[in-house]
Amino acid sequence: MAAIEILGLEKTYMVGFWRKRPKRALQPLQLTVEEGEIFGFLGPNGAGKTTTLKILMGLVFPTAGTARILGHDWTDPEVKAQIGFLPEQPYFYDYLTAHELLDYYGQLSGVPGKDRKRRIEEVLQRVGLTDIKGVQLRKFSKGMLQRAGIAQAILHNPKLVFFDEPMSGLDPLGRREVRDLMEQLKQEGKTVFFSTHILSDAEALCDRVAIIHKGELRGVGAVADLTATVQGKVEVVWQGTQIPVSMKALGAECHVTGDTVRAVIPENQQDAAIDALRRECIRLIALTPLRTSLEAYFVEKLQLSPTATEKTLGTAV
């Protein structure tokens, strides 16, 4: 069973004061997210990521289309007991402490009283919020609020978790911890759907990604497949700072960093490059084919015209 099935959801807002005109925030979107996967929803700011999440959460009503979450209609309130949601740049009732906030959300999600206290301590520990008893949320830093937001999203042990820009406001260590947490959630059999514009996070975490731009889906696929395209070039890395003359003759673009040299050469020149290094008695460290990065794929999809996208979508979805 698919965790999320988005069937032609679209959203058009009426903008302007006197003469209202339609503005399409989301073009008809078809997307399926399988159970147990980490799915990245990528796109630049204003692409339609948050609009999609808001529609799925019932905060915004779609102009057309429908969706199914965990096999049920997405408007069914009882489905929401099985999902968790972290909004972008979350803001909570600042007069509450983290314990009070989680207790309130636990009550609304129907977590029984006897389990609630234990779950609150567990999730606070899990997101690294300790020694905060009695501290009101108004005294929390941005990173601490983000952690509290993640805690409330997983408090009721949901099957499916939606994170809108979960790394926002976190320091490098915090980002690493959230990445680890998302991987743990996957290992527990949960589905994670997260939106981001930080491609390195998506590349490191996601099983599959979708790219959205100007409200239009530009591509979907497994990260491994999207980055599998070999560019016909190889990267050669060797020890030292010396660049053999014969290597330059191969048309290598060389970069010296510390006591290593990296050179990119055409694939058909790789044997000649190895011979050149061997002749000079230089130690070869690595020889790897250059693959398309997720960033390159992302940029390519963003630059495609809508018509070109329609052509590629048929194979991507």
Binding site: G58, L59, K80, A81, P90, E100, S109, G110
Partner: protein, 258 residues
């Protein structure tokens, strides 16, 4: 009451109780009751009348200010600060949110009125030294004041469900002022002719009739209250509150939370 409505109401009550502005307003109301003692002492033979009039008016006015001040932000502030997102992404229906907010604010006002009423009775006891049987009528006036608060709360929520806090405050306060003169408006409608009569009559019955809920002067003058008036006012306030709350729910059910 279902559990989710109760939890939303309890959180709304907690928010109000932790707001310092609330204590300032209650402080002012108690100060006014205290001032009634001073005014009562220099009002020969009408101390009782002055203390009840001033005290209950303070309870009513400050309660209305609290109801409007807190009520106008109940929905719009939650949308603006996006705290609503993490509530409505749970198994909470939108109507439960509105009804929970209403009960939370109404509960806050009932508790405030209780404490302010203690202030009024304290001031009265200080001036007259001993309660008499007609003083029990103060409880009827306090009950009507609470009914007035319920109507104001529901109106503040109604406006808060579709407009900004500032506009909501203007709308709610204007309705309170017009509603306080509802009897005069009905009198004017009775004297007018033609279209004016129709418009004035329509407006007079549309605005909440707060003048019917104001029995402060009658209580101060120890005029008896019949049970029919209590029943009528109760039904009227509950009907008006239900209508305003239904309007708030209808609007909020269709609203996109951008």
């Amino acid at each position: 009451m279902n559990a989710r409505i109760f939890h939303i109401a309890a959180n709304t009550f907690r928010e109000a109780v932790r707001d310092r502005v609330l204590y300032n307003l209650i402080g002012f109301a108690l100060l006014l009751s205290g001032a009634a003692v001073l005014v009562g002492q220099i009002s020969i033979d009408i101390e009782r009348l002055v203390v009840i009039n001033l005290g209950l008016t303070a309870v009513s006015l400050f309660g209305v200010v609290i109801a409007i001040f807190i009520g106008i932000g109940l929905v719009s502030k939650e949308i603006e600060k996006r705290t609503l997102y993490t509530v409505l992404s749970r198994p909470v229906r939108r109507w439960e949110f509105i009804v929970g907010k209403f009960f939370g604010l109404a509960g806050t006002l009932v508790v405030n009125t209780f404490f302010m009423a203690i202030g009024v009775f304290g001031a009265l006891l200080y001036v007259v030294h001993k309660f008499s049987k007609p003083d029990a009528l103060i409880l009827v006036a306090l009950y009507f004041i609470i009914l007035e608060f319920l109507v104001i709360c529901s109106l503040a929520l109604l406006f808060s469900s579709f407009s900004s806090p500032l506009l909501s405050a203007v709308f709610a306060f204007s309705l309170f002022v017009i509603g306080s003169f509802a009897d005069d408006l009905r009198g004017f409608a009775g004297m007018a002719h033609g279209v004016t009569r129709w418009v004035a009559t329509g407006a007079a019955y549309l605005v909440p009739n707060f003048s019917a809920l104001n029995v402060i002067s009658a209580v101060a003058h120890q005029q008896p209250m019949n049970s029919q008036l209590i029943l009528q006012n109760t039904l009227y306030a509950l009907f008006y509150t239900t209508m305003a709350l239904s309007g708030a729910v209808l609007i909020f059910e269709r609203r996109n939370l951008k």
